[in-house]
């Protein structure tokens, strides 16, 4: 089972790769979203802010309403943000759940896909 620290590490790595990705910048330009990531099994809650398609802020905890809520096990979420698990497969199999606009869900998934492809050199 992943720890809170491992999930945080995965998120930081994800944010770094997203920032460096030209493809993410271009396709997700203009996308603004405040999302909450919840892994109840490890007691982890993170708030992620996306401004103009860039993941600009990852903070632990968070209060107030958001645009998108993602919930899953710490292990699945950690693997997803490292790019080792497919968020769409997890979603389609019910391993992670979301609440919020489907547009936001799809854009977040697209971000993961672009990063995966770039890691493959495509």
């Amino acid at each position: 089972m992943a720890t809170k620290e491992e999930l945080r590490e995965a998120l930081d790595d994800y944010a770094r790769r997203a920032e460096a990705s030209e493809r993410v910048r271009k396709t997700l330009k203009g996308w603004n979203c405040l999302m909450r990531l919840e892994a109840p099994d490890i007691g982890a809650i993170y708030t992620l802010r996306i401004s103009d398609g860039q993941l600009t802020e990852v903070t632990e905890g968070g209060e107030g309403a958001v645009d998108l809520i993602i919930q899953g096990s710490g292990e699945d979420l950690t693997n997803i943000f490292w790019g080792d698990e497919n968020p769409a497969s997890n979603y389609m199999q019910g391993a992670i759940t979301t609440r919020g606009s489907q547009e936001d869900v799809m854009r977040l998934d697209a971000m993961a896909m672009f990063l995966y492809l770039e890691a493959e050199g495509k």
Partner: protein, 480 residues
């Protein structure tokens, strides 16, 4: 306290989405078809019986939606209730319904415009192409109909139709003929049963609103909204059949635009133009809902590795361009075929059969999941499900068979042939192509390796690994 959403859909929009998705332009044709099956002005009884059956469907989808409140629910509950390959085959076949509804709407609107402006019938093909190209481009550009616009469009359509029907009935002095006698010498009981099968189609797609389950303020709004929507659809469709049976001739009922004749009889040229606008407005919800639902579903299925990777590519507006183009092209081909052959009744019958089929599948899923997921919390638990789910399974299977071998009042196996061909292609794809896609995906994944740094396992983690059940099929690699 659970985290709240900043923007969430309320009951009004749930009702308008559910009703708007069901109330496509093809509704008018299906209602006109019903009138021909039933004696006098009793077609509303078929609408009522179908509405009663749809209460069962409401129960199934409310329970399944409560179990899986997600846009991917259909994949989830089918995969958990039956073999995943069977679930995929049914789901791919079901996508045909979306194409049929979009095609039918495009055809009906195109035909209606040519009638109002007194143009040759072939011009309808031009309008159909224009409509579908516009819808495809709008979706590719990421244009979305906002909830408020959808509310206004749906309620305007419903109000417009009700007003025209009431005016029409008033002109006839509200003199009902045989409202409670659907059967006579020329209309046997079998015709009434066929009418019920067709009337199912009047409500079809009301359940698509379950794909909005992640966006609502409170998950319970979905089943409440669907129930209200069924009531609204019953009232409006019953009124349409009553007004049509009073004001239209058999020849007018058999056209592709009976609603225009109805409006013309009720309110002259003003009525005609108003009904044309109402017909066009239905497309806003149908095209928006159908393109969004189907293209997102295809995108997610491709990302899962069950469709070729091209279907998961996004354009610079973050729209899945291949699913959108494929849907637009399939709808254009289908609508053009219908325009050329005039076989819109076969289209309606195919849609009715497919909807009944999916309702039977939903009943089956409720039965299976009551056993397989008996301890999973259900925010909505269908009353008498052990009795009503098997009953619904039998009824909707029978109605699916009936609708698939009946076009208009005649025996015709065209819908059955369409469904069998599509089902066979879906099954072949699921059995032959998907394993190869999965194999390639697994090979890519293996070559890529894992990025997550490996940690030395703690004693606690080691114990968990030892006792954890082995899972398979959780493909880690995103579809390309």
């Amino acid at each position: 306290m659970a985290t709240q959403l900043r923007r969430a859909i309320g009951l009004r929009t749930v009702v308008s989405a559910s009703t708007g998705l069901a109330f496509a332009a093809v509704e008018f044709l299906a209602a006109a078809g019903l009138v021909a099956y039933v004696a006098g002005d009793a077609a509303w009884l078929a609408v009522a019986v179908a509405g009663g059956l749809l209460l069962l469907v409401w129960g199934y989808f409310s329970e399944l939606n409560g179990l899986f409140p997600t846009a991917a629910a259909i994949r989830l509950y089918m995969a958990k209730a039956m073999d995943d390959r069977a679930a995929l085959t049914i789901t791919f076949t079901y996508l045909l319904t979306i194409v049929l509804v979009v095609s039918a709407d495009a055809y009906i609107i195109g035909s209606a415009i040519t009638y109002v402006f007194d143009q040759a019938s072939w011009v309808a093909v031009v309008y159909i192409a224009l409509l579908l190209v516009t819808a495809t481009l709008a979706n590719l550009r990421g244009v979305r109909v906002a909830g408020a616009v959808q509310d206004i469009a749906t309620y305007t359509v419903l109000a417009g139709v009700v007003v025209i029907c009431v005016i029409g009935l008033a002109r006839d002095g509200f003199a009902l003929r045989t409202p409670f006698n659907p059967v006579d010498a020329g209309h046997p009981i079998t015709s009434f049963i066929s009418a019920v099968a067709l009337a199912i189609f009047l409500y079809s797609a009301f359940e698509w609103v379950t794909t909005n389950a992640e966006e609502v303020r409170d998950p319970r709004l979905i089943h409440r909204g669907m129930l209200i929507s069924l009531g609204v659809l019953f009232v409006v469709c019953a009124l349409i059949t009553l007004a049509m049976s009073h004001l239209l001739t058999s020849a007018e009922l058999a056209t592709a635009y009976p609603q225009l004749y109805l409006a013309q009889r009720a309110a002259g040229s003003i009525g005609l133009i108003a009904m044309l606008a109402v017909t066009a407005l239905t497309a806003l919800n149908t095209f928006n809902g159908a393109f969004l639902t189907a293209s997102r579903f295809m995108y997610a299925t491709a990302r899962e590795g069950n469709l070729p990777p091209v279907f998961s590519r996004l354009n610079d507006k973050a729209a899945p361009w291949a699913p959108i183009v494929a849907l637009g092209a399939a709808s254009l081909v289908c609508a053009t075929l219908v325009a050329v052959t005039g076989a819109w009744q076969a289209l309606v019958a195919t849609g009715a059969a497919l909807e009944s089929m999916i309702y039977a599948a939903a009943a089956y899923c409720v039965i299976r999941l009551r056993g397989r997921l008996k301890d999973t919390p259900r925010p909505f638990r269908m009353a008498l499900a052990p009795l009503l789910a098997p009953v619904g399974l039998v009824i909707f299977t029978a109605l699916a068979v009936l609708a698939s071998i009946t076009v208009g009042p005649d025996l015709n196996v065209t819908p059955l042939a369409i469904i069998l061909v599509t089902g066979t292609l879906s099954a072949a794809y699921t059995l032959l192509v998907i394993p190869e896609l999965k194999r390639r995906d697994a090979a890519r994944r293996a070559a890529r390796g894992r990025r997550r740094p490996q940690r030395a396992p703690t004693a606690e983690a080691s114990q968990e690994v030892e006792s954890a059940p082995v899972e398979s099929g959780m493909g880690p690699a995103p579809g390309e």
